[in-house]
Amino acid sequence: MRLRRIDGGPACEVEILACDGKSIRVTIDGVEIAGEIEPAADGGAVLRIDGRRTRVAGARARHAIQVAAGPAAFEFVTVEGRVGGAHHGLAAAEVAAPMPGKVLRVLVEEGAVVAHGQGLIVLEAMKMETTIAAESDATVKKIRVSTGDAVDHGQILIEFSPAPANPSAPESPAQGE
């Protein structure tokens, strides 16, 4: 499956090849990793990979998967399709809310072409305004929220389709795929 951190960034393809309750084999972006796994009575587990022991625990929230790996906490969303730099120049096919909050303003319209870094939506969370910006050039395919909506961690706000072909973009050689 494809997992992306809730705040954006590249998605990773994670596939669990085998997990028999003692050993585990996975691929992450095609690289195979083998290790041991011990489930704990409390629902967590211990992973031992390359001599490193990590206590992991996790929970499914409504829109996100929350996990802890040792003291580090992560929130992932599952994303669809094999999009990415090599495919239409799109960093991700959608943008998710990085925190619960209220939609203060929607800065774009469906069909609009947005540039990398351009503001999309302003959220109010923890009494602060946070602007969610585009991670790559893209076309706004669908806006799933409206001003005033309360949104949850990881809730999809906007779906993208690729930006229109732009001969000057460095990714252009891949665009014909």
Partner: protein, 504 residues
Amino acid sequence: MTGRKIRKLLIANRGEIALRVIRTARAMGIATVAVYSDADRSAAHALAADEAIALGASEPAHSYLNIAAIIRAARASGADAIHPGYGFLSERPEFARAVRDHELIFVGPPAKVMAALGDKVAARRLAVKAGTPVVPGVETGELGAARKFADRAGYPILVKAAAGGGGRGMRVVGEASALEAALVAAAREAQAAFGDGRVFLEKYLARPRHVEIQLLGDRHGEVVAFGERDCSIQRRHQKIIEEAPAPGLAEATRTRMVEAALALARAAGYQNAGTAEFLLDGDEFYFLEVNARLQVEHPVTELRFGRDLVAEQLRIAAGERVGAPPEPRGCAIECRINAEDPEHDFRPATGRVASLTLPAGPGVRVDTHLGVGAEVSPHYDSLAAKLIAYGADREEARARMVAALEEFSLVGIRTTAALLRDVIASEAFARADLSTHFLEEHMPRWRPDDGATRAALIAAALVAEGRLGATRGGESANGAAGGAAKARPSPWTALAGFATGGRR
């Protein structure tokens, strides 16, 4: 001036500090009354106390800052004393006054002492009078005087709010051309935040350490010091790591700092627990402010001195005399695990605890109000848990803290735990290269390391497949939610039956 035994104590606070005060009160045989906002109805402190009284809506102004409601709760419950904790009303002279006006014991200094120390300019004057060094500065924000001072002292200089706190109304000015704008902006911010636009100027120390002296004063005029703490490591002007003793501090400097703090406290007529904060620049130190309450980081002093500072506060409030402080022993470090996102400028994080593993073991103390199912809401501060590690020496305390942070696990809310682990494990921290700029210097653009990210991705995939973890609220998907003991699938079943997975 005569003592009065405390029989029932109301704790005008929430979170870990309310719980911590309740524990000491209970061990002293004092009945406890918690107060709570709507959001905290089933919070740990409300459940822990002998009685719990609702204050009002979740916003602090309606609950934990609502003096009238708190006094009403104290009177309704028959409490004879109020402990303010830290934050909220703990340094509001009008609260201390209201408590005493209702013939209740306020566990803290007298209102007028608090008022005198709360104004930074007044406190600075008091320090000068008591012979305590202060950062070179000028007590005005008037442009002419400010420019004259800044030209003489040299840039950068610091503009600070007289009524300030928490970094608000504070500006670093790098060059003369930026001074006027900074004075205006700081005054505006201070006016908005504190209703008091007065600002003043100080020389900006480039790479100071923050060192503070723990004080205890009784109602009979005696003040003693319980050593120092180094609280240099901060984010957004707020401490995140504290330790005692301050590593590498010359004995002569320590002695001078303690003497300066005691002189100041005596001059102010200080009573109860308080802290004199200093900036340390090489061997020179400068008075910063007095915090007229218990500090968040008081446990490091407790572990080093083997004393319960809340118990000392309650005894002092009941009129007892402070004794000579015991000999300190070993070293203690505290890490504040905040519900914040360390990858995004420490912005506050909220959520509900889906799973929680707290560290334990020799020399490890955890002060927290969180448990599975608890919620961190946007209404209150971001402190989620304090880990405190004691060791016979700094290196043992440091190693125990690294191990403790590695045992800490929280699902449901982002925290600073992994960043703290990396700070404590760093070579810079090990050699005590401390300054208030530690994070910028040593942990710029912190991210979890690749091994943790890899483990997290695998865990997330297992969660997505329903093979690992709790759904929100602690229910296990890992076989642990089965029926009675015999029928219950072992924790193995879920994973064991899962030979191949992924994309089918």
